[in-house]
Symmetry: C2
Subunit: 479 residues, 2 copies
């Protein structure tokens, strides 16, 4: 595999992405159109993502649960915006156990409806609130244009669902989970994101308000990397989720939902990757350090492998995810390329001269050539490596942030916006009307990504209609 | 909830089980017949089970992956025993995105077929072997008679799948995974199990040989708690999973699969539970220790809660899964009953007198009354509790093993076997013929559970036909 060269990102970003996902063995195409198989290297990355998020969810009082994948078709119809949003995308089970079903079932496209149904049974009193739940599962949406990780018929995610006594609490929760996504993206994935509010046209079907984190990919396009929805009382009314308050009055709950999916793997690939392949952020990397032994003679092999195995054991003991590449029949150079393509953040090169000096060469994946190399004593390697991983983590974040900054432009009219979104984000004042939003989209093929929570600069006149605009929004072409 | 009394196990074991699952909030019935919702307390138990197994799988070189849930209908037909086994149980998707599908898709009942399909692409050479994979997911089988955890349309499990160059390696793997299940059941779930080989009538559809671990429930019935299959070359031939060996010859792979599901939660409930409710084995318990503060006056409340919170923090620090029950408006006695019903292995009672003495009372869930209580200094509690949890773990195992031994009988004829399986296991010599097996089943409603790997005693004449029997088998009524 490693011999076939990837196209460069400049040549064909989309094809660079498709080939890299296959070549790095993150995922493959399944026999059913639009479905994917996530291979060990891709799933190990997802497991690290889930662990990083799950820790944060549990620390804020959420509990994991499992609602079934099969939902009565009629449930989807109960909330009118929800049914409009999801009806065209459903996978429908009509036969079970060899017989036609009296009522067709759908495979969940998301679980608000079935959760609402169960909550109406479980929630009786204000004492039962808040209910803070999350589930790790997969959902199915019948997408027409698919791309590995970014848009597949079945995808993996977590969906959080909470019910509260008051609007304020539910709004707080919605924002808290957005903050958690932001912190995860920035701190663990080294991806700078813009947290903000979606327009009505772009929000979740059934939500009062949707918030998202938006990231800039290596081609300047946007990717929505996580969403948090304030659902108001929409689902509580549709499914009669009610509680007796402290005065004995029956009230509808206020609910939220929030999700982050295997799309995020696409973001990691497209934010950090370069023409040589993946670059994994150290905190999430399935393999943080690879040790490549270098030798020619049998005698060299024996002493180098001895030292390499000892080093491997010490790095494991230090809690570092390390792999010793002992593959026979491949040159050290071939292995360097292979692990570079797979994005391992730090490579340790260990040859006979290094062993003689009781040292090793450490090479950073994010800095090519001599600039990214240092020699360090073997005895210090657990500490040196830990430090280097932290440096790579920070450097990846800073590089992505600089890239986004230099490809984000203030725009004063639609022509400027159109130019800006050719290879980046446009900031523009927007009056808030759906008509103006639609006009911008039609003329530029860019969508409103979000109204950033942190507004930079002063809003002026709406870029589309010229009326006074309360806020500035981010526009971009998007995945 | 806690006021309604459970039926005793002697009165109605099945109803005791059903009510306990609901009352302890492990799971609930979903709106679709035969599906379940796993609630936070039940899912936390499953998470501890998955962690205990996943650690063992990874330590033996297995990697997690995710194959899609949707499989072309035609795949199921490719292996002739497999299609016979699973055709009647399939859930079929016939509509996607609003349109009738050209080829119907099934929701995986298990993943041998789609994995075989992908392996035929990925595996080329002996260098690619062995392939050692596992996935945590849910599968759907259209069961007619369902029971929470024990048999549901959708259930959660792990399915391991491996491919090997030789029969010997695949056979070794099959037995290794059986050993891992046995070790997990005994060491972590405190459930003594009998590892053994299934008869041809009871084996997995598509396997050459199926091994299982069998456990005795509190009513003397058997539950198959995990299975490991040697699949020979059946799926490799059906899906053309082949490799070039070291001599350049094309060979079919030898494959295995193995699984353990949410059924296992049913086993934990039915092995350890008593008339007061659940008893969780400490190593898997979502909550290992509950602290119940006892007070009457506001002054007492303040000093007791202070001490309880401090103790809680210390137990957390010691790595113990602890909960401090600060619920208002419920008496300490009510809380004792509630946590007993939910099976928390150790309760810490902390009242004003205890605080004055800087001590607390520890009560074991598995020993009722005074016998299970000890007082210990607060300062020692992290150590005392850890020790007590280990004692409870061992005691639960020993009690279950004694129960099984005293309800397992050597039987010399079908009448004896029939009596033995009224409330336990029967050991009987069996010639190995399917006819004899069918005859025993018809006359006693007991099935052959397994031929234990460790044969106790000497096989004699077949209990059904009187011919010489090579081995003794376990017969029982089963879940």
């Amino acid at each position: 595999m490693a011999e076939e060269k990837l196209p460069t990102r400049a040549e064909d970003f989309s094809e660079w992405y498709n080939q890299l996902v296959l070549k790095a063995q993150l995922a493959d195409y399944a026999p059913v159109r639009g479905c994917m198989v996530v291979r060990p290297y891709g799933w190990a990355l997802w497991e690290n993502i889930t662990a990083a998020l799950d820790r944060r969810f549990k620390a804020t009082g959420h509990q994991n649960v499992a609602f079934p994948m099969l939902i009565p078709r009629s449930f989807i119809d109960k909330e009118k915006h929800h049914v409009e949003g999801f009806s065209p995308e459903l996978a429908v089970v009509t036969i079970g156990g060899g017989e036609e079903l009296a009522e067709p079932l759908v495979i969940r496209p998301t679980s608000e409806t079935i959760i609402g149904h169960m909550w109406s049974k479980w929630i009786q009193s204000y004492r039962d609130l808040p209910v803070l739940m999350n589930q790790w599962n997969s959902v199915v949406r019948w997408e027409l244009r698919t791309k590995l990780f970014l848009r597949t018929l079945e995808f993996y995610w977590q969906e959080g669902h909470t019910a509260h006594a008051t609007r304020e609490e539910a709004e707080f929760e919605t924002r808290q989970m957005l903050d958690i996504y932001t912190d995860f993206a920035v701190s663990d994935a080294a991806i700078p994101v813009i947290p903000g509010k979606k327009s009505d046209a772009e929000k979740f079907a059934g939500a009062d308000t949707t918030f998202s984190i938006e990231a800039m990919m290596g081609d300047g396009k946007a990717l929505q990397a996580g969403t948090s929805h304030f659902l108001g009382q929409n689902f509580a009314q549709a499914f009669e989720v009610r509680y007796l308050d402290q005065n004995g009055q029956l009230q509808h709950c206020w609910t939220t939902s929030w999700g982050l999916s295997t799309r995020f793997i696409g973001a990691i690939i497209m934010v950090h990757g370069d023409d040589q392949g993946l670059i994994m952020p150290p905190k999430l990397a399935p393999i943080q350090v690879v040790i490549v032994p270098i030798y020619k003679t049998d005698e060299e092999k024996s002493s180098v492998l001895d030292a390499a195995r000892k080093l491997n054991a010490e790095l494991v003991k230090a809690g570092i995810r390390v792999k010793l590449d002992e593959r026979e029949g491949q040159s050290a150079g071939w292995k360097f390329n292979d692990w570079e393509m797979r994005g391992v953040p730090v490579r340790v090169e260990l040859g006979p001269k290094d062993v003689a000096k009781q040292a090793a060469v450490l090479a950073r994946r994010d800095k090519p050539g001599r600039e990214g190399k240092v020699s360090a004593p073997l005895a210090d390697l657990p500490v040196t490596t830990e430090k280097l991983l932290a440096e790579v983590q920070q450097a990846l974040h800073d590089k992505a942030l600089n890239f986004r900054k230099s490809n984000t432009h203030d725009t004063k009219n639609i022509e400027e916006l159109k130019r800006a979104v050719e290879n980046g984000f446009a900031l523009a004042s927007w009056c808030g009307s759906a008509d103006c939003e639609a006009k911008i989209k039609e003329e530029t093929r860019a969508t409103m990504r979000c109204i950033p929570l942190e507004q930079e600069g002063q809003a002026g006149e709406c870029i589309a209609c010229g009326k006074p605009a309360p806020e500035r929004a981010v526009f971009a072409r998007a995945y």
